[in-house]
């Protein structure tokens, strides 16, 4: 068991339908992402990026292949080896294209709830939520509801929530799509910062070519096949 690996996938395949309606959305996807590593996943629409992300996010199990998170085998094909919901709660953080905050909770409560669901006491969870919001520069907006926050502020709160339980993996699906280039870059830098500071492996699905230099590794997907390409940062170095 390699605990330094945030996430490892072995020959993940996802097939929708059967017979003549069968569609192979992902084929033999094998990746290894270390803690602290920030990875981009590129590809055109329908390439299988979301299928890969939902599979490693333990939301949509693969048809075959294995997924290990923090060195722990969690899925063998569609068979769950752990309680997936509990495992998601403890080990995976999610950030989406739209911020996906709970509308009836304030920014602080959106972060706090993730910890309370994980068994952290309300007082401690509140304290930690405020720390994270402070770290992400949105402390002054802590008691505002999502509707009162700008797109960038919402994404920062979502990142704070994703970090709340010190997850092994953060999965982000086009987190900068709703942001201007400046804000988009800031968010990507944030991912890089939190990956290094919190030791989480970060997978970001993105179309934003302007921010590729912040990633350690870039994967490309096309027709369900995944392949690694050298990152801009590596190229620059």
């Amino acid at each position: 068991m390699n605990e330094n690996l945030a996430i490892e996938t072995r020959e993940l395949t996802k097939i929708y339908g059967s017979g003549h309606t069968e569609v192979v959305a992902m084929r033999d996807a094998s990746v290894s992402i270390r803690r602290g590593q920030v990875v981009a996943l590129l590809g055109p629409s329908g390439a299988g990026k979301s299928t890969f992300l939902t599979a490693v996010g333990l939301i949509n199990p693969p048809t075959s292949g294995q997924i290990l998170i923090g060195g722990v085998p969690v899925l063998d094909g569609p068979v769950a080896l752990v309680n997936l919901r509990s495992f998601r709660r403890k080990h995976i953080g999610y950030v989406f294209q739209k911020s996906n905050l709970i509308p009836f909770l304030s920014a602080r409560e959106n972060v706090q709830i993730a910890m309370e669901l994980n068994g952290v006491g309300p007082r401690q969870a509140r304290h930690r939520a405020l720390e994270l919001l402070d770290e992400l520069g949105v402390l002054e907006r802590a008691e505002n509801g999502p509707a009162m926050l700008s797109g960038g502020e919402q994404q920062r709160v979502a990142i704070a929530r994703a970090l709340a339980n010190d997850p092994s993996v953060i999965l982000a699906d086009e987190p900068t799509a709703a942001l201007d280039s400046h804000r988009g870059r800031q968010v990507m830098e944030l991912f890089r910062g939190v990956a290094h500071e919190h030791g989480a492996g970060v997978i970001v699905v993105t179309h934003d070519q302007r921010t590729l230099e912040v990633f350690d590794t870039i994967y490309e997907m096309e027709d369900g096949l995944i392949r690694q390409r050298t990152s801009q940062l590596t190229l620059a170095q």
Binding site: S50, I59, R88, F104, E109, L117
Partner: protein
Amino acid sequence: MNLAAKDIQHNLGRFALTIFGIGMLLMIVMGMGGIYRGLVEDATLLVERIGADLWVVQRDTRGPFAEVSRVPKTLVYRVLAVPGVESAREFVFHTVQREHNGKPLRMSVLGLSWPLDKGEWLPLIAGRPLAQNHYEMVADKTLGLRLHERIKLGKETYTIVGITSGMASTAGDGMIFVTVWDSQAIQFDTPGEAMRLERAAREHRSRTEDIFLSQPILTEQLSRPTAELPAVASPELSAVVVRVAAGADPDVVAATIFTWADVSVFTKAGQEELLLKGMVDKSRRQLGMFRTLLTIIAAIIMALILYTLTLDKLHSIALLKLIGAPNRTILGLILQQAIVLGGVGYLIAYLVGQKLFPYFPRRVVLTNEDLLQLAAIVLGISVLSSFLGIWKAMRVEPNESLMG
């Protein structure tokens, strides 16, 4: 963190309006139960208050409250002669409708057996019982008459000397209490012209019918009031109410009176049962069916509201599942809101009902037993109606939070 409370806080206006609507619905359910109780209480009120052990009524009738019953005044003395009878009193009961201040005024008239009964047993909230055998009246407050107000009934004017509370007939009409003599005067009041016509008809008959020729003394009677003519006088009482002596068995006394061919006799329990089964039963069943229907409708509306509220939260629920919220958290969110809807709705129903029910034309009686029963039903339908929302919430997949 209580998610249900947070959601309610966030959508306070909407929740408040929904709860108020449910409250109004529950108030109607509560009111229906109260009207039924009022009906039962009104039906048995007089029988309870008068406190008679036996009711002697016209043969084969069901007594003065159920239908017209006529017995002669002399029946009082016959009944008094029965062993085991402590007292026997005249009882007159009928309903009249008159104009008062330009509005129809419907009242049930109960004759008190003066001087034995002056109405001391009446629940007075103002004034006093009767103090003279004519032209005084005690009226129930539901009639809207004021103390010392004078009201003309028949040819006489009566002064209201006392006001009662909660004295209504089985039909829900407010009651007035006068002496038996006055109640009969009100009941048998005949216009002067009708009396003149009747006398003229009698005189005509005296000239044409043989009986007046063979018994000329009869012609002397012709100008007397109809009620005073021995051969044609109507029975004047509605019933005779009997109190049995201490130690005597009411059933034995009743059995003796029952042997008389011209009267029927009921015990207090028998009269109450007759009133409830005969007069109130249909209304009771009707109200019961309405109440059941309304409860079912309330449950359906609550289920739809909770389902809609859940639909509005599906994205949040999917998100909660995605970040690992266990099912009990989601279930708690919906169930707590359902119980708040039902609980606060019930409270609103009770509070608004307390203010509104006194203005209802019929008495609405809320008993603790009924209130507790409705509270249990509301709790039950709150839980049941949340099932649809819970079912929908449990079917939501976490990946639905990733969709737009």
